[in-house]
């Protein structure tokens, strides 16, 4: 039985990539709120304008965890500008789709990367 999610979502939920923290991360983004059922914290390391590493911790449903995991895979190796261009749609598509009411989880992923890169920009002005 497939459950409500695609096989891709279930794979990323059960075997999430890049769970953890980055000590002295170049940028950290936190979005969501446990009271609303999900919260994501994204850590990025940026080297020469490229995201060299990404890790996350997420409190949330299956789609939230899978979106976080997929997002970290997608941004690693990308330039900051390329990463900023990632939309929730890209994340959802990469997961072979999300149920309509779970789209907000991919939105959270999009917002997390923007928040982390905003943090990076603040810490590394110019």
């Amino acid at each position: 039985m497939a459950g409500p999610y695609s096989a891709k979502v279930m794979d990323h939920f059960m075997n999430p990539r890049n769970v953890g923290e980055i000590e002295n991360a170049d940028g950290v983004g936190e979005v969501g709120n446990p009271a609303c059922g999900d919260m994501m914290r994204l850590y990025v390391k940026v080297e020469e304008g490229r995201i060299s590493d990404a890790k996350f911790r997420t409190f949330g449903c299956g789609a939230a965890i899978a979106s976080s995991s997929m997002l970290t895979e997608m941004i690693k190796g990308k330039t900051v500008d390329e990463a900023r261009a990632i939309t929730n749609r890209h994340v959802a598509d990469a997961l072979d789709g999300l149920p309509p009411v779970k789209i907000h989880c991919s939105v959270m992923a999009e917002e997390a990367v923007k928040a982390a890169l905003d943090d990076y920009a603040r810490k590394h002005p110019g």
Partner: protein, 404 residues
């Protein structure tokens, strides 16, 4: 893989004996009870009447006081809207507990829009309503009090007999939604002082698509589904004959076997409760510790979200429910559904952590081995989710700082 069904509160497997009693009404005796002038219709009518007697027997009512519906939701709608409309001239005030099911709460919405007033009854931290609050809430224009028999999410059994007595003293109708309890614990409409009682077949090993409303003799209701003259005018529409026959069979079996079922479920429930309490930290049980449905174990786990818990449990073959709306929000109206359940809010669980609530509801087919399986996997799953959670990380850091 294991197939451990611990979600009997959402629905129960059909008892094979019930299915056997339904079968003749699918292929052989398929008549419409309204066409009882001929053999086919007559057989159908007899089946419906026999089922009416059996369902009445389950709650010590008389057959003519049973109105068959399509389920508990429709029965609750009929009770609330039907009584409100029929007794409109007497008053437009209704008293309900704040832990009622959506099918009571939302049935009140169109009434509120038409000017009815609703007084919600607070519950304590175990989810119990206070009968004295009912006494205080009743006004001269109160026509109906509705307090459920047992809560499906947290298992608490409400003091319906006391509430019924107060309602009767004040000459106010008393409705109790016994969806979660009927067939599992005794319910006597006299002892409960109930005028209207909601029953659902699929919650006690009967079929889906059929329920009943007990309507005390003499109580009026405005019918909500109008049409032909079925169910003495309370509810129109061709009867779901196999479903009704199934509800009758399930009621007869439950009446007979309820006591041994409950004994077994209390044992299994205690084993699960004690085991979880001993092995999972950051865990908080919900509902009344003693006055609760047999085999019902509900709790919430800090730093873990309900749907993720359920998904992992399901991967291990364990099927359960989350008390938070989250588990069913895949088809919810919008993101607001993501908030914690009204019941958990009512018992005072802080909304930023209660999305991790779980309801294990056991049934007569479950075993000790299944309980032990769940006791093995749950701590592992919780740990796994904590390790992914930013809130758990913060908690641990604080603890270290606090300790250091």
């Amino acid at each position: 893989m294991a197939h451990i069904f611990f979600d009997h509160i959402s629905t129960t497997p059909l008892d094979p004996r019930v299915f056997e009693e339904m079968k003749p009404y699918f292929l052989e005796w398929y008549g419409n009870p309204s066409s009882h002038i001929h053999d086919q219709g007559q057989a159908a009518l007899k089946a419906v009447d026999a089922a009416r007697t059996r369902v009445a027997g389950l709650i010590h009512a008389r057959p003519q006081e049973i109105v068959f519906t399509s389920g508990a939701t429709e029965a609750n709608n009929l009770a609330i809207k039907g009584a409100a409309e029929a007794y409109e001239k007497r008053g437009r005030h209704i008293v309900v507990s704040e832990v009622e099911h959506f099918s009571v709460m939302n049935a009140l919405l169109p009434l509120r829009n038409r000017g009815y007033e609703v007084t919600p009854l607070k519950v304590d931290s175990d989810g119990k309503a206070d009968p004295e609050d009912v006494r205080r809430a009743i006004r001269p224009d109160t026509i109906l009090v509705s307090v459920m028999h047992a809560n499906s999410e947290i298992g608490t059994i409400e003091p319906v007999a006391e509430i019924g007595r107060i309602a009767r003293e004040r000459e106010v109708l008393f409705h109790t939604d016994a969806t979660a309890s009927a067939g599992h614990i005794p319910l006597d409409v006299e002892a409960a002082g109930a005028d209207l009682v909601t029953l659902s077949a699929h919650n006690f090993y009967g079929p889906k698509g059929v329920g009943a409303l007990y309507v005390r003799e003499g109580v009026r209701l405005a019918s909500q589904i109008d049409g032909g003259f079925q169910e003495r005018g309370f509810r129109a529409g061709t009867e779901n004959v196999p479903g009704i026959a199934g509800m009758g069979a399930a009621a007869a079996i439950a009446k007979e076997e309820m006591a041994p079922w409950a004994g077994k479920l209390r044992r299994l429930g205690k084993r699960l409760w004690d085991g979880i309490g001993a092995t999972v930290s950051h865990l908080h049980f919900t509902g009344h510790p003693v006055d609760r449905l047999p085999g019902h174990v509900s709790f919430w786990v800090e730093y873990a979200e309900g749907e993720s818990l359920l998904l992992f449990l399901n991967v291990h073959g364990v099927m359960a429910a989350s008390g938070s709306a989250c588990s069913s929000n895949l088809r919810g109206r919008d993101e607001e559904d993501l908030v914690a359940s009204p019941v958990l809010r009512a018992i005072g669980v802080p909304s930023d952590i209660c999305t991790g609530s779980i309801t294990f509801s056991l049934g007569k087919g479950n075993t000790e081995e299944e309980v032990d399986s769940v006791l093995r996997v749950l701590p592992v799953i919780a740990k796994r989710l904590w390790e992914m959670s930013p809130t758990y990380l913060d908690y641990q850091k604080q603890k270290v700082q606090g300790g250091g």
